[in-house]
């Protein structure tokens, strides 16, 4: 059910995504993440079109961390920030981070290879039902995504919504 992808550019870093529905302890999880007890990024899956979006954000976060150019304080918060089309940090957390009442959560962990125990420990903290990460597309709030990323219908004639979203994420620092 987990989706694991090694970052080709940074072979020491692997990204694992885990999707949970019917989550009952979102507020508690969020607090744990803030306190550093959960070493992962908690993302609102309704703002995701596809898990690829998370990979793009995570890759960029690791890159910026290595060159010392992160805009936020931690790798996990940087992943959330990178998902947003704007450079406003609090806005990014509001839209893309988990909020207290959320019923679904995408948990993203950047780790070394073969750390199944670490992943299990983190997942165990979620009180919810884990579903395949691919199911995220069932949760996507496409209308909201289109509005936030300002994707006009004509853009989707030459590419997918995912491409439109990813492009803005990749380029936002020079717009």
């Amino acid at each position: 059910m987990n989706l694991t992808q090694e970052l080709e550019l940074f072979p020491d870093h692997t990204v694992t995504q885990m999707l949970f529905k019917e989550v009952k302890n979102a507020a508690e999880l969020r607090q744990s993440a803030v306190d550093g007890r959960i070493n992962g990024a908690l993302i609102n899956p309704t703002m995701l079109v596809n898990p690829f979006q998370v990979l793009v954000a995570a890759n960029k976060a690791v890159h910026l961390q290595l060159i010392g150019k992160m805009k936020t304080r931690s790798l996990n918060s940087e992943i959330i920030f990178n998902l947003s089309p704007t450079n406003n940090i609090s806005e990014a957390f509001k839209r893309f981070g988990t909020s207290d009442g959320d019923e679904s959560v995408m948990l993203v962990v950047v780790h070394c290879k073969n750390e199944s125990q670490l992943l299990e420990d983190i997942a165990a903290q979620v009180d919810g039902r884990q579903v395949p990460v691919e199911d995220v597309s069932w949760l996507s709030d496409l209308a909201k995504i289109r509005k936030l990323f300002k994707v006009a219908p004509q853009e989707e004639t030459c590419g997918t919504l995912l491409d439109a979203v990813v492009c803005r994420m990749a380029i936002k620092d020079v717009m």
Partner: protein
């Protein structure tokens, strides 16, 4: 928590003894990308960039790596390389917003001047397409009627292509994107999955910029005209078709085409003393 601290936490030496300590991370800079590219397939060594084909986040990806030119003053080189990387991704987004196909951008590394782009699958350059169509047409000149029919079909196909190019450039100019390096090598013809027709994709926006001036658009077409006619001999009529289609598709074409005429004349009228 500092980034270094976090990396150390994520990957404690206990789990992976070969892992360097967090404190050693800083000097690593972004040599990671060039290092990664050494294992990628080099598809083109251009005048100012190398183009690689690779997998990135599990997807087929093209990486364009701008390298520094030693003949340029360091300050100028750094400025140009950075500016062109930025201009390239900005123009791509602007085109895509307007529904003009251009490869999606996945990642940009401004320290090593690398752009990671969607690989346009099932595509060939317009340059190769015209060349191969012309070649197969000329082979058949002295053959049977059937082949002459084929030649006619090929001619119509090229005209249709020229029309498509005219349309897409009109749309691009109406968005005030000046490509800056229009050639038939910088346009890809992408076949649709079920082989039902094909669409054009614009690439290589390194010399692009935003301008509403008819002069800049006229020069853009002038650059294409010269590249087109020098790359594909005996295509004057085909290029006229392209301009006609541009003119029909763009809202502001008359001022642009007037400028194109002016720029052409400037070439011939220049005093050339000395």
């Amino acid at each position: 928590m500092t980034p270094d601290h976090l990396v150390a936490l994520l990957c404690p030496p206990l789990h992976n003894p070969r892992r360097r300590r967090g404190g050693n991370m800083a000097p690593e800079k972004s040599a990671t990308v060039p290092q990664f590219l050494r294992g990628a397939e080099l598809v083109k060594q251009g005048a100012e960039a190398r183009v690689y084909r690779t997998q990135f986040l599990g997807r087929p990806t093209i990486v364009k790596e701008r390298f520094s030119k030693r003949y340029r003053h360091v300050a100028l080189d750094e400025k140009l390389t950075r500016r062109r990387t930025v201009q390239e991704v900005r123009s791509i987004l602007r085109c895509r917003r307007a529904g003009i196909p251009a490869p999606a951008v996945y990642f940009v590394d401004y320290t090593s001047h690398c752009i990671f782009l969607e690989e346009i699958l099932r595509s060939s350059t317009v340059r190769d397409h015209i060349a191969s169509t012309q070649q197969s047409a000329s082979c058949t000149v002295q053959e049977l009627d059937r082949d002459q029919d084929r030649e006619l079909v090929q001619e119509q196909e090229l005209e249709q292509l020229a029309q498509q190019v005219g349309q897409i450039l009109a749309k691009m100019h109406d968005e005030d994107v000046i490509h800056g390096d229009l050639t038939t090598s910088n346009m890809l013809l992408r076949r649709s999955p079920e082989d039902r027709g094909s669409d054009l994709v614009l690439i290589d926006f390194g010399l692009s910029y935003i301008s509403a001036l008819p002069e800049d658009k006229g020069v853009d077409l002038y650059v294409l005209e010269k590249a087109f006619l020098s790359t594909h001999p005996h295509t004057e009529a085909l290029f006229q078709k392209l301009l006609k289609s541009y003119s029909a598709s763009s809202k502001k074409s008359s001022a642009v085409l007037k400028k194109l005429d002016e720029v052409r004349l400037r070439g011939r009228k220049r005093s050339m003393v000395g």
